[in-house]
């Protein structure tokens, strides 16, 4: 389960949704359709944290770091093979946040979306510098054992490393949409905002991306 809260100080069981709006809600799935929405009034909202951070409140900035590092690191790590490099790039995102807070360019709302956008730019900058485009190589990837029914078996057999490599073989925007929609469970609207595209464009993109990923995984599963 994806939880954006600091695991060390997990306050609620269940899934946390960090809304753009006022309240932070925790939803706990009971059964299949029943959802209980708990409003947690004692948790400072994202906007209030941002307001404090803009005034230079170090504790607020530290809390933002604790809350969002995981999501940002996951986003970058899915696209970057090197763990140390992923750490550096994730740190760069938060250094940019501090600079933006001090420079008065920090956002007033939707901090998570803003951080994802910065992370995208950091990745683009890095790939621009390194001339290391995303077409790493499906052929370098050691496939799982071929099975008689690759369609059924690839999901069971593919380990995380293999899936990441298949993902990194996709065009950058397709990687992003899969990571944001499936990996970070962003809504369609938030994903469109982060990527700067229309909702219908994201709908098409996620279809193409999922299709391509499936093809890549299947091909790899067959040992092509």
């Amino acid at each position: 389960m994806q939880s954006l809260v600091n695991p060390g100080s997990a306050r609620v069981p269940g899934r946390l949704h960090w809304g753009n709006a006022e309240s932070l809600t925790a939803t706990t799935a009971l059964g299949q359709n029943a959802m209980i929405i708990l409003v947690l009034p004692d948790l400072p909202t994202e906007d209030r944290l941002l307001a404090l951070a803009r005034r230079g409140d170090r504790e607020a900035i530290a809390e933002i770091y604790d809350r969002y590092f995981e999501a940002i690191y996951q986003f970058i790590r899915m696209r970057v093979e090197d763990e140390a490099l992923a750490e550096d790039l994730a740190g760069e995102v938060f250094l940019k946040l501090i600079a933006a807070l001090r420079g008065g360019n920090a956002p007033w709302h939707s901090l998570r979306g803003w951080l994802f956008r910065v992370a995208r730019n950091v990745l683009y900058d890095h790939y621009g510098r390194e001339k290391q485009l995303t077409t790493t190589a499906l052929d370098e990837w050691i496939p799982a054992q071929a099975d008689s029914d690759p369609e059924a078996s690839f999901a069971a057999s593919a380990d995380s490393q293999q899936v990441r490599q298949a993902l990194r073989a996709l065009p950058a925007d397709q990687q992003e949409v899969l990571i944001l929609r499936f990996g970070q469970m962003l809504s369609l609207e938030d994903t469109a905002a982060v990527m700067g595209r229309s909702i219908s464009a994201i709908k098409s993109l996620q279809f193409r991306a999922a299709s391509n990923l499936r093809v890549a995984l299947t091909a790899a599963g067959r040992g092509d």
């Binding site: 293999q162 990571i179 098409s204």
Partner: protein
């Protein structure tokens, strides 16, 4: 070109992703879109693999703690880029408003302070000084409304070339709206304007006009006895000027006061008296006539 069923497929995929993110299972979602289930299943399964292959929580936490010192170092660096007013924009706005208000207030107070030295009077006879009140008020808002009703009593001396004694009784009613007192040099009854000659001292003038230095300064709004300039006009008791003849000839009476003087009298006090007596006589005659009529 996107066909209609393609749009439907895209929407079904979107619906399933949203439901998976909300906690539904893959099968529950596919049951809602049976016509696309076969096509959607491998796509959604691939997408779920992305979720499953995220970095472990262990790795993420370790990374967070390794990066943290770098962030804390950046936070410890002084925020030189941004001055305090940018960190507290609301506070800065209030402070600047207060500052502007203070400046305006202090300038307003400064204009209300008695202006003793700066006030220069341009005309010599006091009767001409009174009507143009605007020249003497430093601030138009606090314009004292002066209604002069000068009664000029001029006693013509035997020699026409000699300086006539003009007794001006302005009798002004001053209605000042400002609570702060504005020092405007207004002569008491019997004082007239005098242009300071080279060599004059205020104390000397006081002695010669048989008044005190303090009284002169008070009437003329002077704060420093040494600060008089030749050519400046001050008020002095009038009778002294006639005896010592230090006043220059107040050659002409201001145009505003002339009609007033004509109305009040024909030039001499004796004439005034005559007029009064005439009026008395007239009234007497009237009474007599009335009586006559009654008698008739």
């Amino acid at each position: 070109m996107i066909r209609v069923n393609e749009v439907d497929l895209l929407n079904a995929l979107e619906d399933c992703i949203t439901r998976l993110n909300a906690g539904y299972t893959l099968e529950e979602c596919l049951r809602r879109h049976p016509q696309h289930a076969a096509e959607l299943r491998p796509l959604l399964a691939s997408g779920l693999l992305v979720r499953r292959s995220r970095a472990s929580a262990q790795e993420t936490l370790a990374a967070r703690e390794r990066v943290r010192p770098q962030i804390e170092r950046a936070l410890r660096q002084p925020d030189r880029k941004r001055p305090a007013w940018r960190r507290y924009p609301a506070l800065a706005m209030v402070a600047s408003l207060l500052l502007i208000f203070g400046v305006v207030l202090s300038s307003r107070i400064a204009t209300l302070q008695p202006r003793t030295q700066e006030t220069t009077l341009t005309a010599v006879p006091s009767s001409t000084l009174l009507p143009p009140t605007a020249t003497r008020t430093p601030n138009p808002i606090h314009t004292p409304t002066i209604t002069p009703s000068p009664t000029v009593t001029a006693s013509s001396s035997p020699t026409p070339s000699a300086t006539p004694t003009i007794t001006v009784t302005p009798g002004p009613t001053i209605t000042a709206r400002a609570t702060t007192t504005v020092c405007a040099p207004l002569p008491p009854d019997g004082w007239i304007g005098y242009t300071i000659q080279p060599g004059d001292t205020l104390s000397g003038l006081a002695t010669r006009s048989r008044t005190t230095l303090e009284r002169l300064m008070e009437v003329n709004c002077l704060s420093d006895a040494r600060l008089i300039i030749s050519g400046q006009t001050i008020f002095l008791p009038a009778q002294v000027l006639t005896t010592t003849t230090i006043a220059p000839a107040p050659t002409q009476i201001g145009p505003a006061s002339q009609p007033a003087g004509n109305n009040a009298g024909s030039g001499t006090s004796s004439n005034d008296n005559d007029d009064d007596s005439d009026n008395d006589n007239d009234s007497d005659n009237d009474n007599v006539n009335d009586n006559d009529n009654e008698n008739d």
